[in-house]
């Protein structure tokens, strides 16, 4: 596996945060400023999630011998 630049990105955390953001937006007590803030954050997170989920289609790797790899 190649090192990924989004190594630190956790889709689980992102999706939890999106749930939170939806809750904040649906709460009528939230200020407009806060709403705009979390909304922009949410849109960025959604794009990041989709990017994280769908990058490049992978071929199965087969380990041979002592942990070497080859494409199937």
């Amino acid at each position: 596996m190649s090192k990924r630049n989004d190594e630190d990105f956790s889709i689980e955390k992102a999706i939890d945060r999106l749930e939170e953001i939806a809750g904040i937006l649906e709460n009528s007590d939230t200020t407009l400023k806060k709403s705009l803030e979390v909304y922009s954050e949410g849109v960025v997170l959604i794009d990041a999630c989709k990017k994280n989920l769908c990058d490049v289609e992978k071929e199965m790797m087969i380990l041979t011998g002592k942990g070497e790899k080859e494409e199937a």
Partner: protein
């Protein structure tokens, strides 16, 4: 037709001949339970093989015991004896001449399986608390199964269909036969070191012997020690292997294990898109709500505008001004008229008007003179008549006596 007699030996020989020439009976495996087992001092073993309904005598000669019997034969054991059927002519009975004996695979394996399951259970390998959660959004999934065969093909196809972005890493393992358990355990350890999200272990269905590698202790411990969550899918749905119990999640088949390991990416994306709609809708609602509130405030403010009040007051002031002006005018007109009337009346009564006929009035230093006592000789006085003033000097005073 003459009746022919045979000797016993002839008959037994004939039967022996029949049996010896039978292809099936010359090389046969017979499964049964050992009874009447007798280790003879000669080194031969005599015993009976039986099942619920039948029994057959068996003998294993010394020469075969050393090569074909790796364990102590005891009554009650379930065994598979391999040899040929022949007739012992002396007794007139057929028996099994045993070349080698194995413990009956199934009976023994079940026993072993139950024993190991109990042992590992007591050692806590199957505890629910140690089960690791399966990542919901895996990126890299390891597989320990045979490199060829239906299982890996199914997994590949299902993974591709559900989420082609997941990297599959196969450790092709020997899944049955000698060394299979060791290979599977190695596979688990190797993949575990790679820091993958999930590992699938499994193989297609088969008999308990086929699945046996997944019932071995080494595999169970490899699963237990792995830091990566492991999903096991061995055999068909009715077979539970030790590996199934030890794994973090058990699937009925390798395909099912793959489905549990790799969620459908399209449904994940759909739920993320739903989330986008949800927050966008909330945001739109919020903005629309605020817009409406602003509009309604604007309307309210327009009604409450001080400018409006001011204009209203100005209008009122204008009205008052007009009213006052009108009133003043009429007052003025009325008074002016009256003044005219009075003026002409008063003109008629003016003292100067009365001076016309020789009348005049006296003033001394601007003060009217009303008595002779106010004057003395030589005083300067002014006499005003209707068309001017006469300056005069008192020449004499006569006091009129009353």
């Amino acid at each position: 037709m003459a009746v022919r007699n045979y000797t016993v030996s002839q008959i037994n020989g004939y039967i022996k001949n029949l049996i010896v020439n039978d292809y099936l009976l010359s090389d046969i495996f017979i499964r049964g339970e050992v009874s009447n087992c007798k280790y003879h001092s000669s080194g031969h073993i005599y015993f009976t093989l039986k099942d619920e309904n039948a029994a057959v005598a068996a003998v294993m000669f010394k020469g075969n015991v050393s090569t074909g019997l790796p364990f102590q034969l005891e009554n009650g054991q379930l065994v598979v004896a391999h040899g040929n059927i022949n007739v012992y002519e002396r007794d007139g009975r057929y028996q099994l001449y045993v070349r080698d004996i194995k413990k009956d695979g199934i009976g023994n394996l079940y026993e072993e399986y139950e024993r190991l399951k109990q042992k590992l259970y007591e050692q806590g390998l199957f505890e629910f608390d140690i089960k690791k959660p399966i990542p919901k959004y895996p990126k890299n999934v390891g597989i320990v199964t045979a490199g060829t065969g239906a299982a890996i093909q199914d997994i590949k196809n299902i993974a591709k269909r559900r989420n082609p972005f997941v990297q599959l890493i196969l450790y092709p393992a020997k899944v049955q036969g000698e060394g299979a358990a060791c290979d599977i355990a190695n596979g688990i350890r190797t993949l575990d070191k790679m820091g993958l999200d999930t590992i699938i272990i499994g193989r297609g269905g088969g008999s308990i012997e086929d699945l046996w590698a997944f019932n071995e202790e080494e595999v169970a411990w490899a699963i237990y020690h792995a830091k990566t969550p492991i999903i096991s899918g061995t055999g068909h749905e009715i077979d539970n292997t030790i590996a199934d119990y030890a794994a973090d999640l058990r699937a009925p088949t390798p395909s099912a294990a793959c489905e549990l390991a790799i969620p459908d990416v399209m449904s994940t994306i759909r739920s993320i898109e739903d989330m986008r709609n949800r927050i966008t809708r909330s945001m739109d609602n919020r903005i629309a709500d605020i817009k409406n509130r602003i509009l309604s405030y604007e309307r309210q403010f327009r009604l409450l505008n001080p400018q409006k009040k001011l204009m209203d007051k100005q209008q009122y002031i204008d009205e008052l001004y007009d009213r006052i002006t009108r009133l003043m005018q009429s007052q003025y007109d009325r008074r002016y008229h009256r003044l005219q009337v009075l003026s002409s009346k008063i003109n008629g009564m003016s003292p100067t008007a009365k001076l016309i006929n020789g009348f005049g009035y006296l003033e001394k230093k601007g003060t009217p003179v009303s008595s002779v006592k106010e004057l003395k000789m030589g005083d300067n006085i002014n006499i005003t008549v209707h068309d001017g003033i006469i300056n005069a000097k008192v020449g004499g005073i006569d006091v009129e006596e009353k």
